[in-house]
Symmetry: C3
Subunit: 262 residues, 3 copies
Amino acid sequence: MLIEKITQALSAVREQKPLVVNITNYVVMNNTANALLAIGASPIMAHSTQEMAEMMSFSGALVINIGTLDSVWIPRMSYAVEQANLHKKPVILDPVGCGASTLRTETARTIARLANKLIIRGNASEIIALAGEQAQSKGVDSLDSSDAALGAAQCLVSEYGANVVISGETDYVVTQDQIVKLNNGHQMMPYVTGMGCTLTALTGAFAAVGDDTGLAAAAILGVVGEIAAEQSRGPGSLQMNLLDELYQLDEATLLQRLKIQN
Amino acid sequence: MLIEKITQALSAVREQKPLVVNITNYVVMNNTANALLAIGASPIMAHSTQEMAEMMSFSGALVINIGTLDSVWIPRMSYAVEQANLHKKPVILDPVGCGASTLRTETARTIARLANKLIIRGNASEIIALAGEQAQSKGVDSLDSSDAALGAAQCLVSEYGANVVISGETDYVVTQDQIVKLNNGHQMMPYVTGMGCTLTALTGAFAAVGDDTGLAAAAILGVVGEIAAEQSRGPGSLQMNLLDELYQLDEATLLQRLKIQN
Amino acid sequence: MLIEKITQALSAVREQKPLVVNITNYVVMNNTANALLAIGASPIMAHSTQEMAEMMSFSGALVINIGTLDSVWIPRMSYAVEQANLHKKPVILDPVGCGASTLRTETARTIARLANKLIIRGNASEIIALAGEQAQSKGVDSLDSSDAALGAAQCLVSEYGANVVISGETDYVVTQDQIVKLNNGHQMMPYVTGMGCTLTALTGAFAAVGDDTGLAAAAILGVVGEIAAEQSRGPGSLQMNLLDELYQLDEATLLQRLKIQN
């Protein structure tokens, strides 16, 4: 039933081509837009408060990524979340570097409190820090294992009414009712910048067509990243192959590769 | 004669290496700079009003792209256009997402009114919205066909004294005197973000060496995109191959591939 | 002994995975982050004054790149350099487009004066302009040869107490005591945007593990760029192959290829 949900979400994105509004960091704007296009969605990177009400009225989801945060962007993010709430659109929060600075931790919590329909996608250190536990965050790369973040993820589920995706060597999709474990992916993936941000953006596309758990995106990016990495000599070709494989992915390949447990 | 104009423009860019100043969106800064380098031009991404007078004094063209617009960037764009006017330099406007928000539509019109030597490059929905007709704009991907935008393009030609390029499955180059139709390209191209922005940037390079119509850039990117896509498994490799083919393009290949009608 | 220093620096980066804070330009944020990851370091792109004190307390180096400068970013850069000084961390300055505008020249000098432990990495035109000599700067591409910038580099060494890397067809690493000449690289490299910025970012990674001269980064990027370009049909594949080869580089290949003289 989980697997069926994933394959249906993939078809739905390709048929509906949902518009996903992204307020994201400067580093990954290009590759997350490309990942959204490759899977079949329609990305728009927009941040001005002057157009956000219009944007949220016809978009399918809002992605908020705090990777290159400053005082100019924070009010834009809050305003966009309010508009998403108004239009009952899901918000996907990527708390990049949460725990590495007070600014990031507090901004991530502000966004999480504000959003009505929320999915949080972070690495283990970020999830732990967001939940207020002691994480090993330094910078934006995780120093904790996904397993260690499971309790924190459950805290976030109850505190914010959110669904939570912990990504790492093992990915966990944590909701009120269950924990799903995904074991795809490849050890070369952390050598491409913004791989987590790409997962967050894709989570927006699938949320726009009804997957409010983050499961479909995590399952698909794990499988696609694994296929792409197996053909890659290094992170340069991995980034390129990832987009090609998102574009080429068919249901049979997905089903054959997927390692899922609940 | 049109074909000769295109091949001469290509040689001129490679010989003169014109400097093209770009005030463009965060998403495409990297790949449009790379496309300009690959074709033989010299890109600079600069936006500060404190240096724009100097920049426009020795540059060959100004590219204005409103893809990630806000109130901080709008006055920078206007000031840059004024400096371009002062130095009699062409301005190439990319009205990204025009029609999708009032902010974008109005800003695009302000820039269009302000520029003295203007080329507009947009997709069909953007051209229709800029001309004030009813477009199907949602986000930044076109929902209209290029044919449907021809009348709107002609309105823009007379309203702003501009030359207009409509890009899409068919590209049209619309000037006071004629309409040129280009039938190169590939259906995979819209799956790479900023392909239209790349065309706009290249239009700046060719404008800097004297092509005030946008024809050379549209012809060349259509041919190069087609060649690149034929070798590509997906949009990741298309983006890479496009830069390689811009760099490798020779006159014989261009002539052999070009599908042009007027 | 120079060669040993380079190979030891490479091992140290891969073992210690130093965190490198980058305040850099919008164009190259993605590929410089990817280059840092590929060589084994941990990049963070952060610019807010609200988190910079925290960031500099646990990072290994600060990279300042003025490629897309404006009045909003200049105080952020100065503040970050002050924090780096406070924590005795090295600052690597990339004076992109120095000489092409007064704003860039003056900002680069302000940063250079402010930083206590400084490495400057620029192309010949930028180094000449920074030293106050007459350069041929137009835009961001060098119009001078590296040899012509040697005197200027020596001026910068004594004026700012900095070590200086001039990159170009020949690279020079200029310190108080010696000039090291590097003859790797490939003529296709200037056709990829931000190749110099990538060198600056890598210089930050090696500075974080103790190479305060810029030598290791220049040697390694020269060799890797050469290997990558030899396999590349154009600048698109060069950018991809460069990341793969940074990731794959081993000591034997480095030693076999390296052309170094002092």
